[in-house]
Structures are given as C-alpha cells and as structure tokens.
C-alpha cells in the first residue's frame, strides 16, 4: 500500500503546531477547512469546508497525545462503509531545538488515486501552516 511522508520545521512551539491542526479558528486560516472533533481517542473527526456544511474527509481519532502525537483515520464520506479504502494519518510533533518544532505527517494505507491528491495537498497545506505560524499570514489560493 502507498504512503506519503512530509517533514517540516516551524519556528513555533509544539503546542502551536498542535493547535493549528486541531483548532478550527487556526485551521481555517491556512487549510480552507476546519478539522472538527474533541480530539479524544475513539471520537469522530470531520474535515469541513468553510461553508460549515460540506464534509470532504472524515474519520476516527485513533490516538491522541497532545501536543505530541495524533493519529486519525481518513476517508471521504462516501467510503465510510468500506474500511479497506480508509487511510491513516499520523502527526508527530516534537521540539527539535528551542523555538523550532519538527512536524512529521505520515499518511499511509493510501489507494493510488488518493495518493496523488494528498501528495499535492500536504505540501501546500503544511507550507501554508508554516507561513501562518511564522508570519501571521497565509495564502488564500487553495
């Protein structure tokens, strides 16, 4: 099965990086979606457009250890009944050195068509997250 891994270093604390992934008010500024959940293991999560209605991706919180590790399942809503089509995203956040966080996103169990999309999407999203956390501004092109 396919996987995609992306590592980035951000001048921020691990908590700020965690918040950027999990807090709608931050996420909406660089991802054009919000990630909605209470982020407890076993809970559902939803990747929702800014219209507040359209869910593009959803899944379960599989593991949650703020601000260090989050593991979620990831699939389009129409694939909910087909677990064999569900992928998995693991976020690992650490303090690489004082003032610099290391974020590794590992997206695994990917079907080929999903691999293509996320290989384009993650670099855009994570570059934009870095811009937002370091400069206070993100691009709005996506």
């Amino acid at each position: 099965m396919n996987s995609f891994v992306y590592v980035t270093y951000i001048q921020a604390t691990p908590q700020k990086v965690w918040d950027a992934i999990t807090k709608p008010d931050v996420t909406r500024q660089f991802w054009m979606h919000t990630n909605d959940s209470d982020w407890k293991a076993g809970s559902d999560w939803r990747h929702t457009r800014l219209d507040g209605d359209t869910v593009d991706v959803q899944g379960k919180v599989l593991e949650s250890d703020p601000p260090k590790r989050l593991i979620i399942s990831w699939f389009a809503p129409h694939k909910a009944a087909n677990p064999e089509l569900h992928s998995r995203v693991q976020f690992d956040i650490s303090e690489h050195k004082p003032g610099i966080a290391r974020l590794e996103v590992s997206h695994t169990d990917l079907q080929p068509d999903v691999l293509n999309g996320v290989s384009i999407g993650w670099p855009q999203v994570l570059s934009n997250m870095k811009s937002l956390l370091e400069t206070g501004k993100a691009a709005s092109m996506w």
């Binding site: 270093y9 001048q11 690489h96 670099p123 870095k130 811009s131 370091e134 092109m141």
Partner: protein, 154 residues
C-alpha cells in the same frame, strides 16, 4: 522504477527570482544551509562544489541544465563520506514555478541505485534546509543549525 529518489515540494511566499537568488548565491546559502555554501557559475557545463564550514568540500559535480529562474539540474556526488561517494553521481532537479504570490519549489533528487544511502541522507537534509529557506525568505529569520549533533560531526 529502479533506483532511489526523494521529492520535496514547498511553497514560499516570495518571487521566483528571489528564491533562485537564495538557491544560487553563497551569501544567502550560508544563512539557511547550516553555514555551507556552493561555488558555481550556474551555467550548463559548469563545475559545482559544496563546502561546509566543518568539513571543507562535501559534494561536487556539474551543472547539467540551467534555466534561471525556472530550473537547475545538478550532477551531484558526495565527496566526504566514503559510503556515499561510492554510490556515484546523483541527479538533483530544482524547479521553481510562480503561483500567484507564491513560488512552488520542487526538489527531485534521484540516483540509479536501490536503497541508496545517499538518498537516505539527503532525505533528512532537504526538509531542514528548505524549511529554513522558507523562513528566511518570509521572515528574515532562518532556523540556524537544525542538524542533530551527530550529523553535524559526520
């Protein structure tokens, strides 16, 4: 596909010309590349050499293609770690594309060898270098040396 490869894409809020300049001028490289720098005229056929403060010459090769500010292709071999040097020449393609106020920078590093230790080494290095480059161009503040202590000594 035979061989090994590493691909990294980053989007930098800076014009393509500025990103090109930062990639090719030693005074900028030293700021975000852990103090290292490269010597070349960046014209096709030119020699290319990389130096790190603690090692001197670390990598060398040749510019295979150069199309400022769009694309550079470097024939690239490590020179100071014997296990990497014996893998021979790799190929590094740097592509810059302007997308609105962002530059999309794509680095594709490939070698004609399965399970390449060289590609494994650069896979750790590029995210550190390119994260620092993005910070430098967007905020004026690079990351400093983000290598692990053991890596810096190697």
């Amino acid at each position: 596909m035979a061989g090994s490869s590493f691909v990294y894409v980053t989007y930098i809020r800076s014009p393509r010309e500025k990103v090109w300049e930062a990639l090719t001028k030693p005074e900028y490289q030293k700021i975000y590349w852990f103090g290292g720098y490269q010597e070349s005229t960046w014209k096709a056929g030119a020699e290319w050499k990389m130096f790190m403060p603690e090692h001197g010459l670390t990598d060398s090769g040749e510019i295979l293609e150069s199309d400022p500010p769009n694309r550079i292709v470097i024939k690239w071999r490590n020179e100071f770690r014997p296990n990497l040097k014996e893998e021979g020449y790799a190929r590094c393609v740097m592509e810059l594309a302007q997308e609105a106020d962002l530059t999309k920078l794509t680095i594709t590093h490939t070698i004609d060898k399965e399970n390449s230790q060289f590609i494994q080494a650069v896979s750790g290095g590029w995210p550190r270098i390119l994260s620092s480059l993005q910070s430098y161009l967007e905020t004026g503040r690079a990351h400093g040396d983000t290598r692990a202590p053991a890596e810096a000594k190697k």
